[in-house]
Symmetry: C2
Subunit: 270 residues, 2 copies
């Protein structure tokens, strides 16, 4: 099901700035048992991202109602919300009065092999390096060609994700997930102030760690620390948490923190 | 007039990857007297850009026919061609069989004040700094949020364009144009191997300079050299060449090379 500005439709205006320039932002979240998961956080992040690119964010109740329509139709699905700057004349200058376009659509929840959760995942080391753009860092905007190019680096279905680095060799995350490493004295996750997408599940893990009195550092680090970590975890709103089982020649035994992280993510009442 | 995959339409599939990820490329060119200007060059550049992001480029004759349909309808217009990776499932992984979407659309030629050509233009110094992404540098892809944010920095209609720099202080070009500076011993234009869009008109000026035995260096330089240049020119397929009259506190008298560049651009038979 696709709702474009509230109406069932599978098309959108060809002059939309979302197409012309990737001039918009998006969210992907799970609907399970008819209920959007972590909706308050997702809406908060959507509003934040809209603000970062100066697009008026649709009202929370409008989007909540539209998600409810998806959920009535498909109680277990992946929901995607796109908000663009709407239709525009040719040229980069934003229209003086923006009428945002909102697209709320469902698709099947991804069906990954059960072993991805049970035994962990094999990860590709991407050769593409993310560029720095502090004005857009952290924002889940529609300019995602870097992710597309990085994801195109492998086609082996046994490889679940690719690890992305910036031009200075700092690890940033997966192509579609955020990364945590487990070290002797706590967790660490990459600083995303120059590139990358700061996901809702990343925030949830950072906060849950704090509430369980586990240190979680947000900082720059490179491949060396990833390879020496006790556990490496990938998280997002659809997969929850995966442990990395193999990265190049390096293999990890099954860890213990991944189960805790999954429990933290299950516990939260939204 | 908008043609989507050859059919008159003003809509596009909401699941198109052009919208989802900016997963595509585009071209803007002038149709004058019913004839697309510099079409061979534009097609060549479109094919190059498609190749850079591994999207199959539509055949030349297909696009030429579609431009002819626009031209029959509007003999003087701006034509825009968008080629995307087509519809896709959720997720960054490109479909195994890509069916590109092509959109060919016309809009009115921009009507800039006559003084922009006669006396030159006033230019804003953008504060946004372009990020480096060698994998996409030079390509006119649909990930243009940097240009949108930069263009949103001013709304004064007397300011015709904004000048963009990279994070190291090298000038890259205008938000919608390429830049040349005129110095005592020739021309120089920014090296676009790390960011920016290498336009067709830029190529034409570089080649025309060579054929007129005028040196044109393609290299890195910063604001200092721009301010000390005898003339500063902005070029693209719709505006032709504008001389910069004012940039911050710096003002330039009317130069002489801008007229030559306009003549070079008029001379070329395509």
């Amino acid at each position: 099901m696709i709702l474009v500005n509230g109406a069932v439709s599978d098309t959108l205006g060809a002059a939309d700035r979302g197409l012309a320039y990737g001039d918009g932002v998006f969210r992907t979240l799970a609907i399970r048992g008819g209920r959007p998961q972590s909706w308050t956080r997702h809406y908060h992040k959507l509003a934040w991202d809209c603000d970062a690119v100066s697009i008026p964010c649709p009202a929370e109740e409008v989007l909540r109602d539209e998600l409810a329509r998806l959920a009535a139709h498909e109680p277990g699905c992946a929901a995607k919300i796109i908000v663009t700057r709407g239709a525009g004349q040719r040229g980069y200058a934003p229209p003086s009065e923006v009428q945002p376009t909102r697209i709320v659509m469902s698709s099947a929840l991804p069906r990954h092999p059960a072993e991805f959760v049970q035994s962990g995942v094999k990860v590709h080391l991407c050769s593409l390096r993310l560029g720095f753009q502090p004005a857009l860092a952290g924002v889940k905007h529609l300019n995602r060609l870097e992710n597309v190019l990085a994801r195109a680096e492998w086609s082996d279905p046994d490889i679940a994700e690719g690890l992305l680095f910036d031009g200075e060799g700092n690890v940033i995350g997966g192509t579609m997930s955020n990364l945590f490493i487990v070290e002797r004295d706590g967790l660490a996750t990459p600083d995303l102030s120059r590139c990358g997408v700061a996901g809702v599940t990343r925030d949830r893990v950072i906060e849950a760690a704090a509430s369980h009195r586990i240190t979680c550092r947000v900082e720059q680090f490179g491949l060396g620390r990833v390879l020496q970590a006790q556990e490496v975890l990938l998280v997002n709103s659809l997969i929850g948490a995966w442990q990395v089982r193999a990265l190049g020649d390096k293999a990890w035994a099954r860890g213990t923190l991944v189960a805790s992280v999954r429990q933290w993510l299950d516990e939260e009442i939204d």
